[in-house]
């Protein structure tokens, strides 16, 4: 994958991430859709599907209720597949993907908080001219896209350099340990689904 393709990959990740909250919510951003979609660029469809399924199962117990920001499935799939493309085994790439997704949710919370600081000004401008709402929506989308793109590039650079530095130092035994934890994911996820369907009220 040449650098142009990596940039395209990052842009698609940022676009897909918009679907999580900011626009559409057509579930393009759920793991089982994002994983295979991104893997079309990295070239390993089965890895994309597996990472997608595992991501969705792993985060199945956290829902975006109220102000809760679940870890991003798009970021997790994006980082995992990017690292896998650079030769990192999928079990280790997924570990970095999960860490990046958690880090992204904290960063996202912070950016949303800072965005709230301008709310009074925005409201004033909308009251003065209702057409400003459309402009504000476009600007917010652009802002969310660029912020995600920047955060993803930073996270990808950090994760890739760390994983590639770590990889030669990892023993065969450590690789087995990562593989064991990796195959635990679907069982952990499927079991948590049973509990998540439990009725709290009739």
């Amino acid at each position: 994958m040449i650098s142009a393709s990596i940039i395209l990959f990052c842009c698609i990740v940022a676009l897909l991430e918009l679907d999580t909250t900011y626009a559409f919510q057509l579930t393009f951003s759920r793991g089982i859709v994002t994983g295979p979609l991104l893997s079309l660029l990295t070239g390993d469809l089965m890895a994309g599907l597996q990472v997608g399924i595992f991501t969705e199962l792993l985060f199945a117990d956290i829902n975006p209720l109220g102000g809760v920001l679940p870890p991003s499935a798009v970021i997790c799939c994006g980082i995992s597949l990017l690292l896998h493309f650079f030769g990192v085994p999928l079990s280790i790439a997924f570990f970095f993907g999960v860490l990046a997704a958690i880090a992204f949710s904290y960063a996202e919370r912070w950016t949303r908080k800072t965005r709230s600081n301008h709310l009074a000004v925005w409201e004033k401008l909308i009251r003065r001219n209702s057409a400003f709402a459309t402009r504000l929506i476009c600007l917010s989308l652009l802002n969310a896209f660029l912020t995600t793109l920047l955060l993803f590039i930073v996270l990808a650079a950090l994760c890739t350099s760390t994983a590639l530095w770590l990889l030669p130092h990892l023993t065969e035994r450590a690789l087995i340990a990562f593989s064991f934890a990796f195959i635990a994911v679907p069982w952990i996820g499927m079991t948590s689904l049973i509990a998540s369907f439990r009725l709290k009220t009739k």
Binding site: Q25, D61, I62, S91, S116, F180, I188, M190, S196
Partner: protein, 273 residues
């Protein structure tokens, strides 16, 4: 409400959460969605539009799909505000506030339980069943590509289409029901028995999730000829341990992701010795 306005509200409803903020949540999005309708309402009273916009810019937070009921109901009440005399306007505005507050809470509760709590995991299970039936071996550490790429696509399409068919239907119908139905019918909300739907969806979900776990275990173990095979026993013990750990974690309210990170750490420590 004419088709054009209905369609505009429907399209704009996809951007309800674009201006999401921690202070007033979806207030910017709600205003953006309702602007075409408000412009139509206040065509001859443009001086009153900023005051109407102020009301829409107050706190609003609900489920993005179920919000369509709120759009319809608020549009209906807005018509009453515009049609009434100045004296009655204050009462109508008070009612408008009450509708916004109560309906947003109700729709949020229904939407969260139906879409995030039932439909999303159900469509995930649907896709997983399709893949396992088609022998797509995603449970192995190094899965091989199935005979046809269509096998992979079929699961994705099934989950995507099922979720969006329901979500888009609710988005579209919710606007017209909210607008046309009486407040006594909770703006069309009680036309559907949401609680029963959620109840049955969750009951089906429990059975499917247990079935998935068993079917997955069968797929993970089916290639062994003998029950005494050491690899078979090792895999069985591993599955049982993971399931047990997950159940304990749920009891202790530990999210899956932390359980996974703990598993990475524990396996590394075990293997070190």
């Amino acid at each position: 409400m004419n088709f054009k306005t209905h369609f505009q509200l429907f399209l704009r409803s996809f951007f309800l959460q674009t201006g999401w903020n921690f202070v007033k949540y979806q207030n910017i999005g709600l205003t953006f969605v309702m602007i075409p309708f408000l412009k139509e309402c206040y065509k001859n009273k443009s001086k009153e539009l900023p005051s109407a916009l102020t009301r829409y810019l107050e706190t609003f937070n609900t489920h993005p799909v179920m919000a369509s009921f709120c759009f319809g109901a608020l549009a209906r009440q807005e018509k009453n505000i515009v049609a009434n005399s100045a004296k009655e306007k204050a009462i109508e505005k008070g009612e408008w506030e009450a509708i916004k507050r109560t309906l947003s809470i109700t729709t949020a509760s229904i939407g969260d339980r139906l879409f995030w709590g039932a439909l999303k995991p159900l469509t995930l299970l649907l896709a997983l069943f399709i893949w396992l039936f088609l022998d797509v071996s995603f449970l192995e550490t190094t899965p091989s590509l199935p005979d046809h790429v269509a096998y992979i696509v079929s699961g994705i399409v099934a989950a995507f289409v099922t979720f969006n068919a329901v979500a888009l239907c609710v988005r579209w119908i919710g606007i017209s029901l909210g607008f046309n139905c009486e407040p006594s019918t909770c703006f069309g909300l009680i036309r559907f028995n949401w609680n029963q739907t959620i109840y049955y969806a969750k009951r089906i979900g429990v059975f499917l999730a247990i079935g998935m776990l068993l079917f997955g275990a069968y797929h993970f173990l089916k290639d062994f000829d003998s029950f005494t095979d050491i690899q078979f026993i090792a895999r069985l013990i591993l599955i049982s341990a993971f399931v047990l750990c997950s159940l304990i974690a749920r009891k202790l309210r530990i999210p899956n992701m932390y359980l996974y990170l703990a598993a990475v750490l524990i396996f590394n420590i075990i293997i070190l010795f």
